[in-house]
């Protein structure tokens, strides 16, 4: 393989990894807090939609600076989308698994409506928005590839995420609430409701950021099928990383490679690219099986130690 081809492959891999790392972080944060956010997909789409709208509306006023505004706006939008599920959970006890998936579908149709309606490109032929002007696109990192600065943002987010979880009081509260909300509330006097809401927001913001970065770095427009299921792959990314933000960077890249490879397989061998989802789901199951076996063993040993020493009559 020529050097150019190798570079292209790496570039492709890291480009795909970028949204996976960010959504993987979104899921990891949420899962660590005991919140099953399956809505990264929808939050990503909303973030992408909001970013695109901001850029198209204000891009010519702000020039290159629009990127920053747009990325922040996309994050906010993702957080707001997640906030819906947060309210439904804290106030109405709606299982977030169901509500976030419902919101995924609603987001999908919302984007469909936008790209065929208010945000549609001027000729009104294609279901997509106008293409973004050059100054609104993220700078490329590796010439000859699509690798863009968003990858750096993703890696930084991973490192920051790890640091926050391990070394800040807020991160500690998040982890405690996730592992044992009752003890967190009673022994730690942690406000579970507030912690839950904040985690939803952070998770949604990360997924929204993923969408915004995709739009500014790869697609340069909003259209349907923007995401080939990043939000769902993110679950596999997060679980395989053991919910550790630093490891999410690694697993994000791994899954990026997987999807790049699947893409190549479809091109060269005709194997449908959907095989990647199958592999991802199998990875989740393997992680679950391994974890179950481990926790079954430790459960058995803790039953032992509790039965023998803390025998309640």
């Amino acid at each position: 393989m020529s050097e150019l081809a190798a570079l292209a492959l790496i570039g492709d891999m890291l480009v795909r990894a970028t949204p996976l790392i960010l959504t993987g972080l979104a899921v990891a944060f949420a899962f660590q807090a005991g919140i099953l956010n399956i809505g990264a997909e929808g939050q990503l789409l909303i973030g992408a939609a909001c970013s695109t709208a901001i850029t198209l509306k204000f891009g010519h006023t702000l020039g290159a600076g629009i990127i920053i505004v747009s990325l922040i706006g996309g994050s906010f939008a993702g957080a707001a989308w997640a906030a819906i599920a947060a309210e439904l959970r804290t106030r109405f006890h709606v299982l977030e698994v169901i509500s976030t998936i419902m919101l995924n579908f609603i987001a999908l149709y919302l984007v469909s409506f936008l790209v065929r309606g208010p945000l549609q490109e001027p000729t009104h032929i294609y279901p997509q928005t106008e293409t973004m002007p050059l100054y609104a696109r993220l700078p490329t990192l590796l010439s000859g590839t699509r690798l863009h600065a968003g990858f750096i943002i993703a890696v930084l987010a991973g490192v920051a995420g790890w640091w926050i979880l391990q070394h800040t009081a807020a991160g500690f509260r998040l982890r405690a609430a996730g592992k044992n909300p009752s003890a967190a509330k009673i022994a730690g006097k942690i406000n579970i409701g507030r912690t839950t809401r904040n985690v939803f927001l952070i998770s949604g913001a990360l997924a929204g950021l993923a969408g915004a970065i995709e739009v500014h770095g790869v697609t340069f427009a909003l259209y349907e099928n923007l995401s080939p299921g990043y939000g769902y792959t993110a679950i596999a990314v997060a679980l395989l990383a053991g919910l550790n933000p630093l490891w999410v960077i690694a697993t994000g890249i791994f899954f990026g490679a997987l999807e790049a490879g699947a893409s190549a397989l479809q091109r060269d061998a005709g194997i449908p690219v959907t095989i990647a989802s199958v592999i991802e789901a199998l990875i989740i199951l393997i992680v679950l099986a391994a974890g179950s076996i481990r926790s079954l063993r430790s459960l058995q040993s803790s039953i032992v130690s509790n039965e023998s020493t803390a025998e309640i009559a």
Binding site: V97, S99, F113, I235, P272, T274, V278, A289
Partner: protein, 305 residues
């Protein structure tokens, strides 16, 4: 007026049928304490299995094949959740993802990526003599593909089984207090396993209905979240067969609103109607909050037995 209402009700029952099958199956599963988010996977596997079978067999056998497809993928879920004690929600999500990817891959492999849209004969509407002539509801309830009539028998049968047999009593006990059930000699894990298989079969049948009694073809992801909507229907129906059937009908009616609006000449972007069931799910779940009591042990796992 009747020529607007009647087709609307017909459409409601039509849309409700697959939802009802899936939700009734899930009701049994959740009464035993398990929440199967993988129901979506059972539905899409059923749809695909039903399609493949219908190209070789008649419609009824294809429905059964659809049920079996759903049951097989649920067996994986049952193994993970009752034998390995994996987290139910994550396992269910994985099963759904697996099923969507698997059916997509197989469909493209078997029938080509360009998707020469494979069509199959559908189950025709079979009007029940006399009953289908009843005003207003006659055509809605009794002018349907016969698979819907199976539903009318299934609901009372399930009700009777849950409340009038020891097997049903035992299953409900597992959902309320697994330790008590085990202490009474009930084999909790095996019962849950069997319940999940039943729920999977029902989910598969739901998928089969989508293909064989409605669309006549398969499309990737055609389950479109129905598995999750079915779970919401179970909550709204308060885990009772009759309530669940009624809730399914309400959801079917919501989807059928699209046609009602169109006939009335009210013009809304079609995405609104597509999104409506999902919005309704959210509203319904929020509205019912605090007023329903789920089976106590739902979602938790058992430590012995």
């Amino acid at each position: 007026m009747t020529d607007v209402i009647s087709p609307f009700l017909e459409g409601a029952v039509r849309t409700a049928t697959p939802l009802a099958f899936a939700a009734l199956g899930e009701t049994v599963v959740e009464r035993s304490g398990i929440i199967n988010i993988g129901l979506e996977g059972a539905i899409i596997c059923g749809a695909f299995g039903g399609l493949v079978a219908s190209t070789h067999q008649g419609t009824w056998l294809a429905i059964v094949a659809a049920g079996i497809s759903g049951m097989m993928v649920s067996m994986l879920f049952a193994f993970f959740v009752t034998r390995l004690r994996s987290d139910q929600i994550i396992t269910g999500t994985a099963i759904s993802l697996l099923s969507l990817g698997l059916t997509g891959t197989l469909y493209r492999q078997l029938y080509g990526p360009a998707g020469s849209a494979l069509t199959t004969a559908t189950m025709p509407v079979l009007p029940v003599p006399f009953l289908s002539s009843l005003p207003l509801i006659g055509s809605a309830l009794f002018s349907q593909p016969p698979i819907t009539y199976v539903l009318y028998v299934l609901v009372p049968a399930l009700w009777w089984w849950l409340y009038r047999t020891h097997a049903g009593l035992g299953l409900r006990a597992i959902g309320e207090n697994p330790e008590a059930a085990i202490a009474a000699g009930i084999r909790a894990s095996s019962t849950q396993f069997a319940a999940i298989l039943f729920g999977g079969f029902m989910g598969g049948v739901a998928g089969g209905v989508l293909v064989i009694a409605q669309a006549g073809t398969f499309a990737e992801g055609m389950s479109a979240g129905r598995g999750f909507i079915a779970i919401a229907i179970v909550v709204l129906g308060r885990w009772h067969p009759v309530g669940v059937a009624a809730a399914a009908f309400v959801f079917g009616a919501t989807s059928a609103l699209q046609y009602l609006f169109q006939t009335m000449g009210w013009d809304l972007p079609y995405q609104v109607f597509l999104a409506l069931p999902y919005v309704l799910t959210l509203l319904a779940l929020a509205g019912i909050a605090g007023r329903v009591r789920a089976p106590v042990s739902l979602g938790m796992w058992i430590q012995r037995g």
